[in-house]
Symmetry: none
Subunit: 190 residues, 4 copies
DNA sequence: CATGAATGAGCTTTCATTCAT
DNA sequence: GATGAATGAAAGCTCATTCAT
């Protein structure tokens, strides 16, 4: 149980953790497998025992967030398209983001790169679908902006407010409140 | 004067244009100087005649937007900190973004990479400064979020609404309207 | 075990050998890693598996001679500063040079380059220290020249007499004799 | 006559001076024409107005010393092969070296490189010829070493004693004295 | 007497990947 | 569950050189 001993069994997980950290910090392309291996004190070849390619590492890391979003979309589509549903969607999205914050940051900061990967469009599409669920199909352009802003405000909460002082949970709630306001406002003008 | 003839005198400009396009599309790191050179039908060495390094190309491309933001900040700081000033700040920011849209997209999509470059903090700092100008120093957390959202909504307008149908200028105005609403709302609760 | 089979385990050594040979023959700067790799029938990347940089190769090659000289200096400093000690110093230096002749030739013929490398001063300094050990601190200028000449005559023996006919060991002894004469002469006038 | 004005007419000479300085200091290969041009505040293309190639610059710089040596050899061959002639040869050689010291240093420190250039063997040959003139054809090996050492001691004077304190002219004379001693000694055992 | 613009060849270095052990 | 040794491809960059102006 000594933490200085070579852990065993968890190497796969440790690779994912270190990779995500480095990919976010220094960029996916700028991060070489050599760096990841060195930081873990294993050889590059060891990485290849656990993952088929570099891209595979990133896929595995991003997979959970993908599933989360899919579930959210599925849920949203199954509900009646009321304001209350939409509010609940935002609430759930907020929680999902909070949970998967590091992965989300990575995606945000490596958009150009990620687009070329096979995950590619997948995430963008999901965000569009999600955003569509918040909006009436016949919404005016301004309201379109409002619902979109509602969603993206939450990303901003993750990024721009990251180095603002204050309890993360407080910040999350403040962000959610503003997002809900935007959503409500978009609905009022119906 | 035929456009298929080797243009002269404009090579530097053409490098910047093609580079920005490729950097945005495929990512800064994934875009090699070979690709840029090939697309311009010159040799790599020609790029190095006009720019000292790859990073230099990106710096030169991003420079104008930097100046624009600095001017905006300077202006904002010279004005009385009234609601009207802040609204005008948003209006001007909106126009600046519209003008420099391609550069801005590049920065947005290559954040991780850009952070490592020497432009690095420069842009983030400017956005923070700008955002500070929109906010009362004693603003509640929710209002902090609102002013921040006001600014970032405009980025979203650039990105997420890019492939929504409609006249760009209409979209810009709709986005600006929502941003102004957020700003006003943040002020009401003073 | 056939010598035309790809040897294994000795690649590092083979790189050093070929590198030293080419560096001496055609100059460090003029010798590209491609040439070294080709002559070894491996890829350039293989060189980088064994050495971190081109400079590293040269450092590793030169290291042994450095140690030899350090030991010699240490020994010299531990002895009484008598004529006999100095003579023995020359004798030992002569042997060291004979052993490390190829490395020494390389250093001699690439002085300007080596100076810029990180070995830089190291060797020059050692020769100066060694030369100081041969000399009385209050020696007249002429005697200063004589002891210096004693040392450098040995280098000449290595270089200028290289293509003079005769048994190498005979030549070494003749050179040593002249050097010892110079040393003795320098002492007489004390 | 103001020294800050762009001198004219002497550009060729200035190129040679700067080139020799840089070639000696940082090595011929490591010194690029760009560096030379920059230091002279002209363009690379300007160098090509004055010299056909990089090698040409070095040839032009080294030419004078070559002629000097040729004259010395010619003179030596025309004299009777007496000890006095040989002594005078050394004296004249000493002066030639003192005059052409910078060029000589360059050759000394860039041997490997120079060998590949078209000057190549020329200088080595001349030194061998010169050295032969100092020696009786039937000299014993030890005396062969002594005459060779006599010559090379003078190079050492240029190099190793360069950063020893003292008047250069005094040093030159001390070196010459030792060299003459070596020569005389070589003759005595005839 | 010189420059501005460009090229072709080559350099050192790094990377993702492979595979026998 | 991993390593040691290597590869093929490509990257960013520099250099000597050319030539129209």
């Amino acid at each position: 149980m000594a933490s200085t001993q070579p852990r065993r069994g968890d190497t796969r997980q440790r690779i994912q953790d270190v990779a995500l950290e480095l990919f976010t910090e220094r960029g996916y392309d700028k991060t070489s497998l050599r760096e990841i291996a060195e930081r873990l004190e294993v050889t590059k070849a060891a990485l290849y025992y656990h993952f088929k390619t570099k891209e595979d590492i990133v896929l595995s890391v991003v997979e959970d967030l993908g599933r989360l979003l899919d579930e959210l979309i599925e849920w949203g589509q199954a509900q009646p398209h009321t304001l209350e549903t939409k509010k609940e969607l935002l609430r759930r999205y907020s929680e999902a983001l909070a949970d998967a914050a590091p992965v989300f940051r990575f995606l945000q900061e490596n958009q150009a790169t990620v687009r070329e990967l096979s995950i590619g469009g997948a995430f963008k599409e999901r965000l569009v679908t999600l955003s569509d669920l918040l909006r009436a199909p016949d919404a005016a352009l301004t309201d379109h902006v409002r619902t979109t802003a509602a969603m993206f405000t939450m990303h901003v909460g993750l990024m721009a407010l990251h180095d603002v002082e204050g309890d993360p949970e407080d910040k999350r709630k403040a962000v959610l409140e503003v997002a809900l306001d935007l959503l409500t406002e978009a609905h009022r003008s119906r």
